[in-house]
């Protein structure tokens, strides 16, 4: 054995192997994150060199800010719909594609395609569909709901964002559900068939319980992503019409960079962090409890 266990040598090894990644991680994520918490207690305006402490004034501003709460509620509503719909659609696609269908990898690749493309481009693609194509189609078939642009109406603009998000993420979650479904042992399903279980019973009693780990991953990913949506929001609706579709990420951006209210903006961002963290931890905790051991 040539290993020498001197402390100096160990530090040297650390610096060579873990040093670069740790250092960059610390100065890009850890320090700004901690500094950000500090900033929420100051009155920084984006230019001042001297920071003066204002206590909880920024948090008070945020709690009294109607625009922030309406964007928060909108985000919660958006997250609720996208998480449920994305997972239902993804599961149905995965279920249809995993029953030994020939050419399923072709379909799988096709449904995944929207996930290769960024929110900005997807947002513009759908902006064209909603504002140019659907109205023409609506007039053609005489449908009132389609004949005006969805993006010009606050209620329908919200649904446009839900539709595009579900359309994009369902292909991603489908890939995870397919992996989960193919790991369900076929003997188990055969045994159940022999015992006289129908398709519905097999789905409820065998497939879904075994799929719990995949469901947890997918719900976790969709919640996280729907709380942080920005690009799509920006390119599809731009927060409009009349600021009716400003999700919380966009609200943070606008408060900080457009209104130059950095303290309140960072306080909002920190609030968003607390929510995302709480959701993630709850998800993992309850998920572990419900997991089925094979």
């Amino acid at each position: 054995m040539q290993y020498r266990h001197g402390a100096g040598r160990k530090i040297g090894t650390f610096m060579m192997f873990a040093g670069p990644a740790t250092l960059v991680f610390a100065v890009v994520m850890v320090l700004p994150f901690l500094y950000g918490i500090l900033l929420t207690f100051t009155d920084w305006d984006g230019k001042a060199v001297q920071l003066s402490f204002v206590g909880l004034a920024n948090y008070a501003t945020v709690f009294g800010d109607a625009a922030f709460w309406s964007s928060m509620l909108l985000t919660l509503r958006f997250a609720a719909f996208t998480v449920v719909l994305t997972n239902v659609v993804a599961f149905l696609l995965a279920f249809a594609l995993s029953s030994g269908l020939k050419g399923s990898s072709f379909f799988r690749a096709g449904f995944f395609t929207p996930n290769l493309i960024g929110g900005i481009v997807l947002g513009f693609v759908w902006q064209f569909v909603f504002s140019r194509v659907l109205p023409v189609l609506g007039k053609l078939i005489g449908s009132g709901a389609l004949s005006t642009s969805w993006l010009g109406d606050p209620g329908r603009a919200f649904w446009a964002m839900v539709i595009v998000t579900v359309w994009q993420y369902s292909g991603y979650m489908m890939v995870i559900y397919i992996a989960g479904l193919t790991s369900v042992p076929p003997e188990l399903l055969e045994a159940a068939s022999i015992e006289g279980a129908g398709g519905w019973a097999k789905l409820r009693r065998i497939i879904l319980p075994l799929l719990v780990p995949s469901i947890i991953i997918c719900v976790f990913l969709t919640i996280q992503r729907s709380f942080m949506v920005y690009d799509l929001n920006l390119a599809l609706t731009g927060g409009g019409p009349y600021k009716s579709t400003v999700l919380v990420s966009m609200n943070v951006y606008q408060t900080a960079f457009l209104s130059q209210q950095y303290g309140p903006g960072q306080a909002q961002a920190f609030f968003l962090f607390l929510i995302v963290a709480a959701v993630s931890i709850a998800q993992v905790y309850f998920g572990k409890k419900r997991e089925v051991e094979l």
Binding site: A96, T113, V175, I176, Y230, A269
Partner: protein, 277 residues
């Protein structure tokens, strides 16, 4: 007999439904492609009609106006360097953390895992303030540096899980054969990490290639713009030239789709591996 016929019609129906659903999924791209070949009045009048003549003028003008070559070059360089550095540095870091168990290495690993749930929005304001103050904004190199910081936790997490499963014997044998610390890592461990490297490369390449918010905050100069940035600015400048705008979308999408056609199986595999860990 009747059972097999029923089965056959059943699967034909299933295919028909799946093909219809897939066509509906991909329809937005088809509509954009068709309309990118029309003149603006044609787009406005009848976005559902087939183009009367195939025109590529929109592509020529979009290519110049959005500085396509410069944008794709920037995106390529930034993505390539970031992804390579994230993979290498995170693999080395995870290797150290697994093989040198101490309270410090456990704590560092836990901090990285915990950092994975921090949303970017909670960091962007102080990040801009700090890096603006020391004059590190407005450079693609700073952007790459930041991508390493943001990408490291998840990559370390993936590598950590995999390296734990590699037996020490192989490394000990290599040490006896005279390999130094770096030799063991680069000649023995790194080649074994290949499947995880694939996952990290795929996930991070998709993220960085398509990212908008971070580059929009860091890169100010026109000549540094990445593809998502130049698409966005192009759209805010030429709001009514539909044909040209749609052509720019198709040009942005094509490189990724072409790559996807060749590496589809790896990408799907990488996504699955990354999600299940």
């Amino acid at each position: 007999m009747s059972v097999s016929i029923r089965r056959a019609t059943g699967s034909v129906a299933k295919y028909a439904v799946l093909i219809l659903v897939l066509a509906a999924y991909l329809l937005p791209f088809v509509l954009v492609l068709l309309n990118s070949l029309k003149t603006d009045p044609e787009v406005v009048a009848s976005p559902l009609a087939w183009p009367s003549v195939l025109r590529f003028d929109n592509y020529v003008s979009a290519f110049e106006k959005m500085r396509f070559m410069s944008a794709i070059g920037n995106s390529f360089l930034i993505t390539l360097l970031s992804v390579c550095l994230i993979s290498l540095l995170s693999a080395m870091c995870a290797y150290f953390l697994v093989r040198n168990k101490s309270r410090f290495s456990t704590a560092l690993y836990l901090v990285m895992v915990a950092a994975m749930i921090i949303p970017f929005q909670a960091i962007m304001i102080p990040l801009l303030k700090v890096y603006g103050a020391i004059g590190m904004l407005n450079s693609p190199w700073s952007l790459i540096f930041m991508y390493i910081g943001f990408g490291a936790p998840f990559a370390v997490f993936l590598f950590h899980g995999f390296i734990k499963g590699i037996s020490l014997e192989l490394e000990e044998a290599a040490t006896i054969d005279g390999c130094g610390r770096y030799g063991v890592f680069f000649k023995v461990v790194l080649p074994l990490l290949q499947p995880v490297v694939m996952t990290v490369v795929i996930l991070d390449a998709l993220w960085i290639w398509n990212d908008y918010l971070l580059p929009s905050l860091v890169l100010m100069a026109k000549q540094h713009r990445t593809l998502p940035l130049s698409t966005f600015y192009f759209f805010s400048t030429y709001t009514v030239n539909y044909g040209r705008l749609l052509a720019s979308l198709i040009m942005t999408v094509i490189p990724v789709i072409v790559l996807y056609l060749f590496s589809q199986r790896f990408i799907i595999k990488g996504i699955t591996a990354g999600a299940i860990k």
